[in-house]
Symmetry: C2
Subunit: 556 residues, 2 copies
C-alpha cells in the first residue's frame, strides 16, 4: 500500500455530490456546443437558428416564405434582433413548449427533411438572450384560424420549462411568427462570417424565398425570389430497409401493431415488398410469422443480415427535396455571376442508420466566382485584374454552413479532389465557387451547433462522385477556354505580321495587297481550325477575326 492510501477519500463522500441536470442547464453552461461563442459568430448563429426555423415553418405549411430580418444596435455589443415570417404561426397552447423548452418539437422523431431537426435551435437562442440581457424574448404569432397573440417568453433552465408573461391578443392580425430578442456579447460586422454572407448564401439555396435584411446602419438588402413556385413539400416516409440498425429493427418491432414479423416489415419500412419479404423469410433462421413483439436481438440481427442480401427498390424520394439543377444554376448565375456553371444532382442514397440523403453539387468558374482577394493593378497591358481565390459554399438541407469548415465532410471531400486532373492547376488560387448541398431526413451534424457534417462514409462517397461528375464538365470547359485563349493569341501574332508579309509578297510578286492579305488570313484560319481538330476539339467557336490594328513592333 502506498502512502497516499491514508489520504484517500471514500466513494460515498465523493458521490454525496451526485446530481442530475436539465438539458437546458447543460447547454446554458456549454453554449459553445450550440455555436454561441465568438462575438460575430454568435450573432450569425442566432440569425441562422431563427431564419431556418422560419423557412421550415413556411415550407411545411406550403407557404412561399417571406422573411424579414432586422439587427439593431442598442449599445456597444448589445443588439436587438427581430425575425418575422409569414409562416403558419404557432397555436397558442403550443407556443411555450415550442420556443421555451429544449429537445421539444415536431421534427426530432420524424424522418423528414427539415433544416432544424433537434428541437434546440430557437429555444437555445431564447435562453442565450436571457442569460446575456436578463430579458425575455417577445413573440407575436398568429395562425390562420386563431387570434394573433403577443407574449414574452423565457426559460427556467433548472426545469427546462417555459415562463410566459404579458400575453395579449392583438387587434392587428398577423399570420406567421415574429421573434424579437435582445443580446449582449455579440457584434455586427460585415465580411466572410457575417449575417450578410449568411443571408446571401441562404438566398442562393432558397430561390423561392424572399429575404429582406436591415442592418444596424439602416441599410436594407432584399433578395427577391427568382422562383415563384414553392418546392415540393418533403413528405415523411418510412425508413428504407437498407441501413436500418439492429437496434432500430428491434425497437420498431417491439412497438409494432402487426401480428407477424412479415407484416411488420411490410408496414414499418419503405419498399419492403412481398418479394423482399419472401427472400428474407428464406434467409433468416426463425419463422417470419412470429409475433414481432417477441423477437430477440439475435433475430433482429438475422433480419438485418438478410436485408443486406436482398434487393430493394431505391428509397422513396418523396422525403428528399433537393434544390434541383435549374434552381441552383439560376441563383449561382445571378448572384455569383461566373463565366459558367455546372450542376449535378446525385440519386438519393442511404447512410448508416437507414437515413436517406441526397447530394447536389454546383461548380461556378471564372468571372465573379470565388472570393475576391485583391485587385492586381500591376498588369498594365490588360488593366487592373481581380485576383480571386476558391470558395466552398456548404449547405445542409439548404441552410448555409459558415463555420468549422475544417471539420466538415464537405470541405474535406472537396479538398480531396485532384483538381489538376480537371484543368484547375491550383485550386486554392482559382476563381472557383464550389457549391455543395446535402439534403437528408437526418443530417449527421458533428455538434448541436449544426456547423459541420460528420464524415459518414456513404455521404463522403456521394459528394466525391458528384464533384467528379461536375469537375469533368468544368475541366472540358476550362480546356476549351485555354484553347480559345491560345487560338486568340496565335491569331493575334499572325495578324500582327500579316501586313509586313503582305507588303513583302506584294513587292516581289506584284499582286495586290488586298488579295494577298485575304488569302493569307484564310490560310491562317484554316490552319488554326486544323490544329483544333487534331486536338480532338470538334467545333471551334466561330468568332470574328480580331480587329486589332497591326502594331509596329519588331520581330525578335
Amino acid at each position: 500500500m502506498s502512502k497516499n492510501e491514508t489520504e484517500e477519500i471514500d466513494a460515498n463522500v465523493l458521490f454525496s455530490e451526485f446530481k442530475e441536470h436539465s438539458v437546458a442547464d447543460f447547454f446554458k453552461k456549454n453554449r459553445q456546443m450550440l455555436g454561441l461563442y465568438g462575438k460575430q459568430r454568435t450573432l450569425t448563429t442566432i440569425i441562422h437558428e431563427l431564419v431556418t426555423n422560419s423557412l421550415d415553418a413556411c415550407e411545411e405549411a406550403g407557404i412561399l416564405p417571406e422573411i424579414e430580418v432586422q439587427v439593431s444596435e442598442i449599445a456597444k455589443e448589445h443588439y436587438e434582433i427581430a425575425v418575422k415570417d409569414n409562416g403558419p404561426g404557432i397555436p397558442e397552447n403550443k407556443v411555450g413548449n415550442a420556443l421555451g423548452k429544449l429537445l421539444a418539437g415536431t421534427k426530432f422523431h420524424r424522418l423528414v427533411q427539415t433544416r432544424g431537426q433537434q428541437g434546440i435551435g430557437v429555444s437555445g437562442i431564447i435562453l442565450f438572450s436571457q442569460i446575456t440581457t436578463g430579458k425575455p424574448s417577445k413573440v407575436i404569432t398568429g395562425t390562420s384560424k386563431e387570434k394573433t397573440i403577443s407574449l414574452e417568453i423565457s426559460i427556467d433552465s433548472k426545469t427546462n420549462s417555459p415562463k410566459m408573461t404579458n400575453k395579449q391578443v392583438l387587434e392587428k392580425k398577423h399570420r406567421g411568427t415574429i421573434i424579437k430578442s435582445k443580446f449582449k456579447e455579440i457584434i455586427y460586422k460585415k465580411g466572410q462570417n457575417s449575417v450578410d454572407e449568411y443571408l446571401r448564401r441562404s438566398a442562393i439555396a432558397n430561390p423561392h424565398a424572399s429575404i429582406k435584411f436591415q442592418d444596424p446602419f439602416g441599410e436594407v438588402v432584399e433578395y427577391t425570389r427568382t422562383v415563384k413556385k414553392l418546392p415540393q413539400i418533403p413528405k415523411e416516409v418510412k425508413p428504407h430497409p437498407r441501413g436500418v440498425s439492429v437496434d432500430e429493427m428491434l425497437s420498431f418491432a417491439r412497438h409494432s401493431e402487426s401480428r407477424k414479423v412479415s407484416s411488420y416489415l411490410a408496414q414499418a419500412y419503405d419498399r419492403f415488398g412481398s418479394k423482399a419479404i419472401e427472400n428474407v423469410a428464406k434467409l433468416v433462421h426463425f419463422d417470419i410469422n412470429k409475433d414481432p413483439k417477441k423477437i430477440t436481438w439475435e433475430e433482429a440481427e438475422d433480419i438485418v443480415k438478410a436485408i443486406k442480401q436482398t434487393k430493394f427498390i431505391a428509397p422513396n424520394t418523396e422525403n428528399l427535396v433537393p434544390i434541383g439543377q435549374n434552381h441552383i444554376e439560376k441563383p449561382l448565375k445571378s448572384i455569383v455571376d461566373p463565366e459558367f456553371v455546372f450542376v449535378t444532382t446525385r440519386k438519393p442514397a442511404v447512410y448508416q442508420g437507414g437515413y436517406a440523403f441526397q447530394v447536389e453539387v454546383g461548380v461556378a468558374y471564372g468571372g465573379g466566382a470565388g472570393r475576391l482577394m485583391f485587385i492586381d493593378k500591376k498588369n498594365e497591358e490588360e488593366g487592373p485584374k481581380e485576383i480571386r481565390f476558391s470558395e466552398i459554399i456548404r449547405y445542409a438541407n439548404k441552410a448555409p454552413l459558415l463555420f468549422d469548415a475544417g471539420g466538415c465532410a464537405i470541405t474535406k471531400t472537396v479538398q480531396s479532389v485532384d483538381w489538376k486532373r480537371y484543368g484547375v492547376s491550383n485550386f486554392d488560387n482559382s476563381p472557383i465557387t464550389v457549391f455543395v448541398n446535402v439534403v437528408s431526413v437526418h443530417i449527421p451534424y458533428t455538434s448541436a451547433g449544426k456547423t459541420a457534417i460528420a464524415e459518414e462514409e456513404e455521404i463522403v462517397n456521394d459528394i466525391k462522385l458528384a464533384l467528379m461528375d461536375v469537375s469533368r464538365k468544368v475541366g472540358g470547359f476550362i480546356i476549351q477556354k485555354k484553347r480559345e485563349a491560345e487560338r486568340k493569341e496565335k491569331r493575334r501574332v499572325f495578324s500582327k505580321y500579316v501586313p509586313e508579309i503582305v507588303a513583302a509578297l506584294s513587292r516581289s510578286t506584284g499582286k495586290s495587297k488586298e488579295l494577298l492579305e485575304k488569302n493569307l488570313m484564310t490560310m491562317v484560319l484554316e490552319k488554326l481550325k486544323l490544329d483544333d481538330e487534331e486536338n480532338g476539339f470538334e467545333e471551334p467557336i466561330k468568332e470574328e477575326p480580331t480587329k486589332e490594328e497591326p502594331t509596329k513592333e519588331k520581330k525578335e
Copy 2:
C-alpha cells in the same frame, strides 16, 4: 394571395406531431455529437471516455491511478473493451444513475478541474454499446467500505434511466471499477488516431499514472509511472468575481442565504475581500445592504460593471492543477526523446463566464520530436536520415485531444505563431513536437464529443503568450545549433585543405609539416572562436576537432 394558399396546412395540424424527447434519445440519434462516428475514431473515443473517467475517479479519491485497458476482437468490426481501475469504486445505490443516465454525475455543477465535466461520457458509451450489440455492459465495482458487486447495465433511452440486471455480490473483493462492453461498427488499427497513440499521449501528460494496454493481438504495452506522487488534488473553489456574468450574479444572489448583498459577495465569490466590497459599494447605484434575493437584473449588471473597475487578487489556484514544468519535461524527454525541451506554465487566468484556466506549453525539438514521415536513404554522405514533420499534441485537463484539430483553439493558435522568428523556418516540415495542455474548471468544448476547445479570447491569448515564451528559448537553441553546424562545417572544410596547404608551405619554407599543421589549426580554431564572439555567442561548446581523414578531392 398566391395560389399556394389553397394547399396550405394549418398550424394545428402541423403541431399535432409535437413531442418532447429525452437527452438519451437525442444523443442516440446524434451519436456523431459524442464523437462516435468513423470506425477507428469511435473506438478511440470509447477508450477516451472510459480512461478519463477512471483517472478522474482515482485522483478525486487521492489514489495513484493504475489503469488496465484491454481490446479484444470478437469478430470483424466487433470488439469487447474492458477498462479496469483501482479507483474508489461506485457506491451500490449510485451505480445506476452514475453509469446509466445521461447528464447525471458529480462533476457538472462544481467548479473543479476534472477530465469529465458533462455527465455524458461513460453513459453515452454504454448506450452506444447496447445500440450496436443489443448487450448490456458488465460492471464490477467495489468501494473501500462496501462489498464488491457485479451487475449488467443498459439505458432505457426513452426515459433516460438505467436498467440493471444480474446483480451479484462477488467473493473476491476489488476496490475500484471494471467496465466491460461490447461494440460493433468499430475497428482497431494502429497509427495516428489509434488507441495506442491516445494512451501514449495520456502517459505523457499523466506521469503519475500506470497504464497497461493489451491490444487485440495480445501485445501488451505498459507505461509505468515516472512520478510516484499523486498530483495535488484540485479543490473546488468559489468563482472569481472577474468574468462572472450578470445572469450568474443574479441567480447566485437569488439562491444565497446571506441577508445583504455585501455579505453575499464576500461569501459566494473567491477573493471578494472587504476592500473590494467597499469599492463596489461606492460604484453601484443602490444600497449594498439590500437583500440579495431582491436584486434586479439591472442591479446585478451594476455589480458586474463595478467589479470590472475593482482590483482583485488573482484567482485562487487550488482548483487548478497543471501538470507542472518538471512533470512535462520528464515524459517528453523519455517518450519523445528529442534534442531539447522547453516548458512554460502560465499563471492562472479567467475566461468569459468566470471560469479559471491555466495554460502550459512544451516544445520538444530535434531527435525523436515530430512525426516520423519517412526515412530518406538518398543522402549517401550522412547515411539514412529520418524525415520528421511537426506535431501538435493537445490536452484538455491532461486528457489528450486527438480529433478535430482544425477546429481547436490550440491548433489554430500554434499555427498562428510566426515560427520563422524563432528559427523554425518551415514549421510543418520541422522535427518539432508542440505540447499544449489547457486546464480549467470548465473546458469550453465545441461539442459534447470533447474533441476541440472553443476559441475563447482569453484562452487563445494565454496559449499564444506561452508559445512565444517557449519559442524564444527554442529559437535561441536552434540558432546555437545552426552556428555549431556551421562551425563544424567550416572546421571540416578547413581541415580538409590543411594537409595540402601544409605540404605546400613545408616545401616553400622548409619547416616541418607537424609544426605548420599545429600552428594552422590553432589559427583556425582561434578564428572560429572570434566569429562566434562577434555574433554575440559567448561560450562556444568545446569539441574535439573532427577526426575525418582528409580526402583527395580538388578545390574547385
